[in-house]
Subunit: 136 residues, 2 copies
């Protein structure tokens, strides 16, 4: 078993694959909150797609600190846990991005849960601290 503080190939595989990630944000009172999300990695930043007004989107606007954790569902000894910051909230291209995530996770061309009034947002996350466990 290997423990490293780098985004190893194993960690990048977890961030890029069809895995559910868990993200923590901070509520107004400073307490933690977690939600499961789809996840993406662009080679440098971790990307999450949410909608304006959601609890975590408002939380990150107030305090950009975030934690992200993923385990390999086929091998719980492959995990990556990250602490970082949401360095940008991007609306440009966010609709196309959620469609690409729907393709990856659901195999469909269009995100099927969109509501008429929702405005999608990409949360761009810089991974400051990485903790990877790999069974290889």
């Amino acid at each position: 078993m290997q423990i490293t503080h780098e985004l190893t190939d194993s960690a990048i595989g977890l961030l890029s694959g069809k895995n559910i990630a868990f993200v923590a944000s901070l509520m107004k009172d400073g307490g933690p909150q977690i939600t499961p999300v789809w996840i993406d990695y662009d080679g440098q930043f971790i990307l999450i797609n949410t909608a304006e007004g959601r609890v975590k989107q408002r939380n990150f606007q107030r305090d950009p600190r975030i934690a992200v954790s993923i385990i390999d569902p086929t091998n719980p000894y492959n995990t990556v846990s990250i602490r970082g910051k949401v360095i940008e909230q991007i609306t440009d291209g966010a609709d196309d991005h959620i469609d690409r995530l729907a393709k990856k996770y659901l195999g469909v061309d269009k995100y099927p849960f969109r509501t008429p009034e929702e405005k999608r947002i990409i949360l761009k996350i810089n991974p400051d601290k990485v903790f990877t466990i790999s069974s290889e």
Copy 2:
């Protein structure tokens, strides 16, 4: 799909089953941290077994606020997300408890990763806010 703020049977099933839970604690600077853990439910409190000196154990000693999230690996539309507090850290019975968790998760009678110097601790969590999504 049902969204409730109760520990429904579906939520209790997730807490009691052989599922990996993700727990968030607060670092000294107030930033969030997440780790995957084994999970247990005693009918009233959520129980996590950790060891003295681990990051999250020290974090909860400083600030007891916690978030816990689980998804059903066979159906990602069954999830429970909880915010609460670690109301007690219990050493009494913690060795037997980690053995019971090893039975549940690994099918073995004794927790196989114990190190000679480690002191196990049960984190007893009161669920203050519950958010359950159930596909049923």
